[in-house]
Symmetry: D4
Subunit: 150 residues, 8 copies
């Protein structure tokens, strides 16, 4: 397939899973463009008030930040051929599940990436996915397979 693939990497920002997928994609020389949210936690939380002005109430600070981040994430998900959604050990990561639902309704292909312990809690999300991975390297293997030229 001559055309490059666009893959959005959604979810957990506290481990190096994106870097591992990037490294695997680069090493294999895949025709894949990887996008994602801003992963600098503080920058992501503060982007709204930093650009648009301070807020006294935390809820409106969060609203402004979520708005600015949505410009980036919604655009990238809509352009993506495939969305990889990572759920880590900690945190609730409702935004990852939200992204998965959003991608599902748009008819995007979805890969989930999470430890086995979350299988039951993520059963609805996994049922909407084409593949459930445990390790970033499995995502890379799938990308190799689906982009292979014959």
């Amino acid at each position: 397939m001559a055309e490059r693939w666009r893959v959005y990497l959604s979810g957990e920002i506290h481990s190096d899973w994106r870097e591992r997928i990037r490294a695997g994609v680069a090493e294999a020389g895949l025709e894949v463009d990887l996008t994602g949210p801003v992963t600098d936690h503080a920058a992501s939380d503060d982007c709204g008030v930093a650009i648009l002005g301070a807020e006294e109430q935390p809820i409106w600070k969060d609203r402004k930040g979520a708005g600015v981040n949505a410009i980036r994430t919604r655009t990238a998900i809509e352009k993506a051929d495939l969305v990889v959604v990572r759920f880590g050990e900690k945190y609730r990561q409702w935004n990852a599940a939200f992204d998965a639902g959003y991608a599902a309704a748009l008819g995007k292909r979805i890969i989930t990436l999470h430890p086995e312990e979350h299988n039951h809690a993520l059963k609805e999300v996994d049922a909407a996915a084409c593949a459930v991975c445990r390790e970033p390297q499995q995502v890379v293997e799938i990308l190799k397979y689906v982009t292979a030229q014959e």
Copy 2:
């Protein structure tokens, strides 16, 4: 507005929030049909294997159950004018966030219903909602307002 409203109640199944909304809607005589997932936890978890046959692996039992439940929930969400998504104190409720993302991409109106302590974790979901409620009665008040005839 002569036409009845269809409202889907998504999320937490361990408290009586759906009953309280139902009671409020009935008391006010609103032209609103309320739908939702099967809220009998055991029935919901077991529906796949109970109907389609047992599975040895929990992951495939869950997959079968998620598939059967998706017939109900996806159909109801697509028919809904409005989706109310409840996040409770406990559990990860990724399926609620998934439903919210799904509804958002379909262009549905969304109301979230959750305690203040989840404001930050739910900021992306709240930013996609038309209203953030704390109490079921607030959902009922909104339904009164939006369905009022003049």
Copy 3:
């Protein structure tokens, strides 16, 4: 045509144009359901904080109100076969123009209703409309024509 028509009446809330259309539709016995926003100005401005709690900043009071009103207006516009958008002599009525653009992108039929003095300022909106009316009675005449059984 056996099926009832759904017509959304958007825009100016300071004159009796809606009542005149309602009266004309009733008098002619048309198979038409008329919907619209809440036209009690104070109730519309205050609905957000009245139901969801007070805000110190006017901008967030307005945001809450706009969210609640959007539940009503977006739902009604999406269900409408035809959207009538009224621009009056006073006020900027950006929300009316917003509704018109929203309806246009959804492929809805649009009728504008405004005095001649606004012709130039509304030229883009009028170009997206099927008809430009000056008087509510003209809207009623169109409804008679388009719903007539032969």
Copy 4:
């Protein structure tokens, strides 16, 4: 994100806000293509009759002009990832609000840009936007943030 962003600049044509955004984007070397309507007021008003022939009635002159301009603006909005809508101090700018509604129904990301005094009149439009800016430089800052590579 490797792909270039397409941003449509809608609305007021009497101040230099577009130039300021263009300058900021150029200075920062952003991967952003900026489009917009024809901003030469006379050319925009006259394009219909200049190309398609004169009209005696102003309303039909305007209709012809609006049609030709719509070819440009509708095409650009549909291709845009993000629509920035500017409301100035003067003029009614219903076409800006129309563009915002059109973009909203297409699911585009929207940024509004207007002085605080219009907050209340624009509350419905702002509620559909991801961000409300006061200054063109804030739009540039958002573009930097959402297009940043990590």
Copy 5:
């Protein structure tokens, strides 16, 4: 099939083909609602200026009329399950072909109804149709077949 079918009858207004289909549907007691344009030629041509005011130029008289008629026809085509498009011996009937293209792009089922002599000129339209009929009674027979309960 319990649900009633909605069938739009587009095209030629100079022969009694609609009446013959109506009679056949009534006689067979089919669960079918038939809609169509206003078939009173003068009323259809004049509806724009009659309701919205006179025009000096014929082209703008026609534009006004086409706008008002589009409210009726577009709404009915979008609601239709099936569109029957009739091309008669005389007249160019470009609006019939336009309706067929419009219905095709919406994914509607199409039946064409025309004499054999138009086969070549209508080959693109016929290729987009599910059936090519010569007589109104054939349309009735198809309606019987497709709505039959088993």
Copy 6:
């Protein structure tokens, strides 16, 4: 759920699986409307030429028949909330697989119904389904579950 469900029964026409589902639905008193293709094999094969005129070449006889049947089946599938696709022991039933693909792209919920021996050959179709059933009674059980009122 107050609203009735619309379920399309696609595929094999040589066994009594549709009758068994109908009987189960009737016995349980479910709010479900069942639709399907014409299952009289000869009538289905001959409908095109019987209504539209004879053809010498079998391929064009088939084309005419497929066109007429498509009016019924496409309309019913588009209206369906759920599509049940049955693959029997004999025949290739490519039209059943076609219906499944069509329903999948429309975002419909799908249930497949086939013996275990076809698991491998139907793996792509089953992966697009919410449930894989072996017996009609299992379809009835799913319908009971998804339509249950609480």
Copy 7:
């Protein structure tokens, strides 16, 4: 606007209007790609049987040809930003009107190009267009205007 425009030239194939638009676009150096149907009349009529095998009945020869041509025309129209539809003095050109309806339902911008004598017969098509031109050079002028960089 940096991106190239895609313009489909539909309709009459007996005059040099396409060449004149091509020449004007080339002379002005516009960023516009022009596409269209195969305009060699005999090749267009025969393409079906020439590639797929002879047919005895003219209607099936036409069907095969229409199918092959549809691959080209439907693909090009769907990719187009703008569709120019030409109606000439002779022939019925129902396929041009069909293309216009198809483009209208897809939300494409449309320009019609025809002599004044067809104004009344084309009133529905013109009402769906952004501009009505008499001469190819007017189409070129519009393309200059809508693609102009500022």
Copy 8:
């Protein structure tokens, strides 16, 4: 037409039909990108368990494989302008018919490629196609015709 065409080659993987189309396209120097599923039968069957881990039950091995293959095939079909679907002499190839239905609902142009003996069994699929070919070279001839520059 300046833009390259994207053509997806679906179906039978046991003969050299894809190679023959590739060779014809290359020889003619067409602006066509050809994509398709992984055609190494064993690799295709095993991709799920090879990447995502072994399964004891064949049905879940197949489910995993179908999921991974769907990432490739769904993405490629959605990007395709044209889908060629090949049905061979042997095997049931329900996935080919599924792909055809999927492409049809997306509004893609379809070419079927199969021996005459399957005409009757494939009549529904052929009726949704723009052309029915017997030989790969016919597909190449169509590609030459539809991509020809004038």
